[in-house]
């Protein structure tokens, strides 16, 4: 199977990647346009909701939360795979990550930005959102540090800013390349400023390596903590279906899961629109697919743990809720969720699908549909069948306003992401160089010892 050529000239790498900043395929503009349109829809809905009050979202008592919180978790989850690829695999010296971690990292950043929006959209009084910030004030009123929501805010802020820094630091050498190769216009100025006068001197490289490593080390526990804390919003509450010990690992697994699926989707799109066939090779795709499959199985295991805890644990409320999920108003979505997220990934177990682009695209989209439903099925049913039977409510549906804003969030994410890929190199040039350099060294050694046949392409 075709992989990145080891004898590819470094200069070639530069030119190829830099091309992506210039002329993508038509499809790029189509996607960008649709995305912007969706954002428009969402803005409209939000303005309406802002003026009328949240009631237009068709919330009620007890349905206090709806799609907003579900989407919030969804987007937070999406962000995790970026860290997985860039940080964890970096530490594990899995060099195949090098061509794709840049856009994964960008995905992290932008999905976090999207998630952040939902925190605001969800509030009854957005205009008072600064109350949640710990700013010193004369009355000495501070946010309530006991609230999981505040932990969220803190965790997300940390995660977002760290990811942005990580993304930026890792991009400096490439920005220098852009600076050196683009000779006019605002881009020239932009790259000149951003590259901070990088010249690839030994001193710069030395500190660069150490810094990159350190931040990677920080990001891993951070990513884990972020989604554990998000799960804390539910696990640390008292409600049936939420108050579950296994939630933190369950959420983290789910996060990595949807993230990987999203990577596959974006991988395929970028590969096409920016003509990256040379670098985003099928062998890489295969590895991501396998990774996704593994995580999918972990997630399935955890979700079954959750079900069996509800079923066999002697809590009538949890058990009732589980039955309601499977048979009640939400049953169709619940079953679809289980199908998409637990059954569909099985296709990834087959070699021929692991590199079949149309199949992978479809599967990855289904997986994320499943994961979105999963978040919704965590939030909504608990409101529909909480503790108190008198206030159970089985016919509340999110209004078009809610759906509009959720759709818009996808547009918003895609818009940011697409613009980023057009402005910045979405394949890390210097690391691809490192990759082919080290591989060629390895091959040379093998040739020297004449064991090329034995090793084959096993190196990757």
């Amino acid at each position: 199977m075709k992989d990145i050529r080891e004898d590819i000239a470094w200069a070639q790498i530069n030119t190829d990647v830099l091309k992506s900043l210039e002329n993508p395929r038509k499809l790029y503009w189509v996607i960008l346009f649709i995305a912007i349109a969706l954002v428009g829809v969402a803005v409209g809905c939000e303005i309406y909701q802002y003026n009328m009050g949240l009631g237009v979202g068709n919330f009620d008592n007890p349905h206090m939360w709806g799609l907003y919180i579900a989407s919030f978790i969804f987007w937070i989850g999406m962000s995790h795979s970026g860290t997985l690829l860039s940080a964890i695999l970096h530490l594990m010296h899995a060099d195949w990550r090098k061509p794709i971690y840049r856009f994964a990292e960008a995905m992290t950043t932008f999905s976090l930005m999207t998630a952040g929006l939902f925190v605001a959209v969800h509030l009854g009084r957005i205009w008072q959102i600064y109350f949640a910030l710990p700013y010193p004030n004369m009355r000495q009123v501070w946010p309530n540090f006991q609230s999981p929501l505040l932990w969220d805010a803190m965790a997300i802020f940390t995660y977002l800013s760290s990811s942005i820094l990580f993304l930026y630091i890792g991009m400096i050498p490439d920005l220098a390349i852009c600076r050196d190769n683009i000779h006019s216009g605002w881009r020239k100025r932009l790259y000149t400023v951003l590259s901070l006068g990088w010249e690839g001197t030994d001193r710069q490289w030395r500190n660069f390596r150490m810094t990159y490593l350190t931040i990677a080390c920080f990001l891993i526990p951070l990513a884990v903590s972020v989604h554990s804390i998000v799960s804390g919003d539910f696990a640390s509450s008292q409600q049936p279906g939420w108050h579950i010990t296994s939630f933190p690992p369950y959420f983290v697994a789910g996060a990595l899961y949807s993230g990987c699926a999203a990577i596959i989707t974006l991988f395929i799109i970028l590969r096409y629109v920016f003509k990256f066939e040379e670098y985003m090779t099928k062998s890489i795709l295969k590895k991501v697919a396998r990774l996704t499959f593994a995580i999918a199985m972990i997630w399935t295991y955890l979700v079954w743990i959750e079900y069996s805890m509800a079923w066999f644990g002697h809590n009538p409320h949890d058990k009732h809720l589980l039955i309601e999920k499977a048979t009640g108003t939400y049953a169709p979505f619940w079953w679809m969720m289980n199908f998409c997220a637990s059954v569909v990934p099985l296709t990834l177990a087959f070699k021929r699908f692991q590199t079949n682009i149309p199949v992978l695209l479809a599967v990855s989209l289904l997986l994320n549909l499943g994961m979105f439903l999963e978040r919704w099925m965590i939030v909504a049913p608990t409101f529909a069948d909480g503790y108190y039977p008198w206030t159970w409510d089985h016919n509340q549906w999110p209004s078009l306003v809610q759906w509009g804003i959720v759709l818009g969030s996808f547009g918003w994410f895609t818009m940011l992401f697409m613009i980023f890929c057009k402005v910045f190199p979405s394949v890390s040039m210097y690391e691809v160089k490192e990759m082919v350099y080290h591989r060629s060294l390895a091959t040379k050694k093998l040739q020297a010892t004449g064991e090329l046949a034995a090793a084959g392409k096993g190196a990757h």
């Binding site: 009732h320 039977p389 008198w390 159970w392 409510d393 089985h394 016919n395």
Partner: protein, 739 residues
């Protein structure tokens, strides 16, 4: 009370100004902003109005006729809330939801603001002078018996004034109409006790056996009964907890609180009563010969067959009644609403005699020593007479004050059309209700919280008392008048000389009270002003040691013959039970949003009407909750949402009264249906009262379905096995020990 040292009227003026000021500043209703009004500063506020400090004045609740005394909380000249007046023997500081909503009757945005004269189909606002002149003119050349005056139950000085006015017109046609008053029971009581409305000592009873008397909801004097009920339940003075058994075909809120709710076939309440007497007799309770003879036929098997109450239940009940004395038996709305209503009531009252409750738990109430002020109670006979008269074109001029006959009269009586036959129709009203819309001249009334008056409650709970009604704040609308003032002006048109000294109703009232100072307990107080202000601040005039009504006990069973239970009509298989909702009553309070949004105690439905069907029956008919069903009777049909309700006899369906207005403003119009319109016109054989429960209907699905708007969740009041409202039995717990 801090208000006894100054003249109330200056005070009210002050209040009024303050009121305007705060209404505008405090509530930001835009008048100030739009420059229509200016803010009045507090710089020159009087001592009586301290910003942010409430003052309290006593008055009388006019939401129903029970005559609860209320204390209004007034701040910056606005009445904010009504609480019960603890001094009143009737409600002892308590209020019902209906009473609480009194302020919404007062502040209601749909009140009429000026006299309206009909020109074609529109009402044109005119001045009061013009209105009075018009009435005067219309009355010229009209003989007294061509004038009819329709009112609801009345008492006190307004009643006196009205009486005098009718005299001045030489008219005897004062029709007193109550759509849902207990008229038949009154008649029956008159027969068996010699008084229309005795005092019921629920708190003294150990067992209360109520035949459809919804005394916790809408019957006679609910707030008073509720308090007695609480006592009765606690088992006052060391007794064990009282037992409540409710016999009816459709569960009322009282039935919902009963220890045993006995569902009977509609109309067989009397039979059950006689059956119980029969069993009691067997159990050794002495009864006079004629009674024994009368009940001989009613052995428990037959009764059980007729009523559907198991023989075993009847036995248990009878035993209980013998074991625990005194008991109290009540005949209520459900029992009286049939062609044999009087018979039912008589039979039930007989039970009281047999059990020897008369004189113990059924007593004669004290009476106010001013017979001319005593209440006149309404009935539906009056309506019929009036209706016939109108139909025959006997009446040229019709005055209407209080009831809303166009809404509450059965459609089959064609009251609306007959009313049109009168040349000149004057309606005194707060709202443009259905009747007012038919009038030629509509005169806007003050709200009860703006008006003066006196009231003598029909049901005297403690000693005799006269309730004072006084304004709690300045008028909201300049062009409204109190009924007293209107009557005074009208009567001046006839007898100017006699009424010259009274320049308004307030003056009349004050004079009238001071005249009888001694009799009203002011003997010790030389100063009239002080006495007057004290009286007002009390809000109640009590007559200690007033004598009781003469109580003639008639325990005979003569003329007692109950019909066989009605067979099921093949064409119209269901009894339609028009249910009296404690909040909406006959529909005069439907335009008070709090009441519209306060859930019905049994179905928790709001803002709409519904028809109650027993789940078993509904299953037969394939009806589910929310199905729109068509209810068809001999006199028309209506479409209403179905609610499956276990607390109703399978042969009966029930629709609440009070909703279904097509007038009366934004909060009432267009919500629900009006079952009055499809009632069969059947009369009680003895009293000639309308028998509200005699209507037969059939129901059919229309295919439409709605989501029933109710507070109850999808599991319909199921606790899902949780400990939310657990229950104990009296063999396990002793309440009399409790605090």
């Amino acid at each position: 009370m801090m208000n006894s040292e100054f003249d109330r009227r200056d005070f009210l003026k002050v209040l009024g100004w303050g009121g305007t000021a705060v209404a505008l500043t405090g509530c930001g209703n835009g008048m100030v902003e739009s420059g229509k009004e200016t803010v009045v500063s507090y710089v020159e506020a009087t001592d009586y109005m301290i910003p942010s400090v409430s003052v309290y004045f006593n008055s009388t609740c006019a939401q129903c006729d029970a005559g609860c005394s209320i204390t209004g909380r007034i701040r910056e000249g606005r009445v904010l809330k009504l609480e019960g007046n603890p001094k009143s023997a009737i409600n002892r500081g308590k209020t019902c939801g209906l009473g609480q909503a009194g302020v919404q009757n007062h502040y209601n945005p749909d009140r009429i603001r000026a006299p309206l004269l009909r020109t074609g189909n529109t009402g044109e606002a005119i001045t009061w002078e013009k209105a009075y002149a018009l009435i005067d003119e219309k009355l010229k050349g009209v003989s007294g018996n061509q004038v009819a005056f329709l009112t609801g139950g009345m008492s006190g000085h307004t009643k006196v004034l009205l009486g005098n006015y009718m005299d001045s017109l030489g008219s005897k046609n004062h029709f007193v109409y109550e759509a849902i008053g207990p008229a038949v029971v009154r008649a029956a009581n008159m027969k068996s006790y010699g008084v229309e409305m005795p005092r019921f000592n629920i708190d003294k009873a150990r067992v209360v056996l109520s035949f459809g008397a919804d005394f916790l909801g809408a019957w006679v004097s609910p707030v008073n009964f509720s308090q007695q009920y609480a006592q009765f339940r606690k088992g006052a003075d060391g007794h064990q907890r009282g037992v409540l058994v409710q016999v009816e075909s459709k569960m009322t809120i009282t039935g919902a609180n009963a220890d045993r709710w006995l569902v009977v076939r509609p109309g067989t309440e009397g039979i059950l009563a006689l059956g119980i007497i029969n069993v009691l007799n067997k159990l050794g309770v002495k009864v006079s010969g004629d009674i024994a003879a009368a009940v001989k036929a009613y052995d428990k098997d037959r009764v059980s067959k007729d009523t559907g109450v198991s023989a075993e239940q009847i036995n248990k009940l009878a035993t209980l009644l013998t074991e625990r004395t005194p008991s109290l038996v009540l005949a209520g709305t459900a029992a009286e609403g049939y062609a044999h209503g009087s018979q039912n009531a008589a039979a039930i009252n007989l039970l009281n005699h047999v059990l020897g409750n008369v004189g113990k738990t059924v007593e004669a109430a004290e009476v106010v020593p001013f017979p001319q002020m005593a209440p006149v109670t309404g009935n539906t006979v009056a309506l019929q007479t009036l209706n016939d008269g109108l139909a025959a074109g006997k009446y040229k001029v019709l005055f209407s004050y209080g009831p809303n006959p166009v809404f509450t009269a059965p459609g089959a009586m064609k009251f609306k059309d007959n009313m049109a036959k009168a040349d000149f129709k004057v309606v005194f009203a707060q709202y443009l209700d259905e009747t007012a819309l038919q009038a030629d001249l509509v005169l806007p009334l003050d709200s009860p919280l703006e008006d003066w008056g006196t009231q003598v409650p029909e049901y005297m709970a403690g000693g005799a008392q006269i309730n004072i009604q006084q304004p709690l704040m300045e008028k909201l609308h300049a062009e409204t008048r109190g009924m007293g003032d209107i009557l005074l002006t009208l009567i001046k048109q006839r007898r100017a000389a006699e009424y010259k000294p009274f320049d308004d109703y307030y003056g009349y009232l004050r004079a009238a009270v001071l005249q009888n100072k001694a009799a009203l307990g002011g003997a010790h107080q030389p100063d009239n002003d002080i006495f007057w202000n004290e009286t007002l601040s009390k809000g109640i005039i009590k007559f200690d040691g007033a004598k009781q009504a003469s109580f003639s006990v008639n325990a005979g069973a003569t003329g007692l013959n109950l019909p066989e239970p009605a067979e099921i009509d093949a064409q119209y298989p269901f009894h339609l039970i028009p249910h009296v909702n404690a909040n909406l009553r006959d529909g005069r309070n439907t335009n008070q949003p709090w009441l519209q949004e306060s859930p019905d105690p049994l179905t928790t439905i709001v803002w709409d009407s519904w028809i109650e069907i027993h789940p078993k029956k509904a299953a037969e008919l394939g009806i589910q909750e929310g199905d729109i069903v068509e209810v068809t009777g001999k006199n028309g049909s209506l479409k209403v949402q179905a609610y499956l309700f276990p607390g109703i006899h399978p042969d009966a369906v029930s629709i609440p009264l009070g909703r279904g207005h097509d007038a009366m403003g934004r909060y009432a119009k267009g919500y629900g249906v009006n079952p009055f319109q499809i009632l069969d016109v059947v009369y009680d054989k003895q009293t000639g009262e309308l028998a509200l429960h005699e209507t037969r209907v059939k129901i059919s699905k229309t295919g439409e379905r709605v989501i029933v708007v109710k507070d109850e969740g999808p599991v319909g009041g199921n606790q899902e096995g949780q400990k939310i409202v657990p229950e104990m039995f009296t063999d396990k717990v002793n309440l009399s020990k409790e605090i």
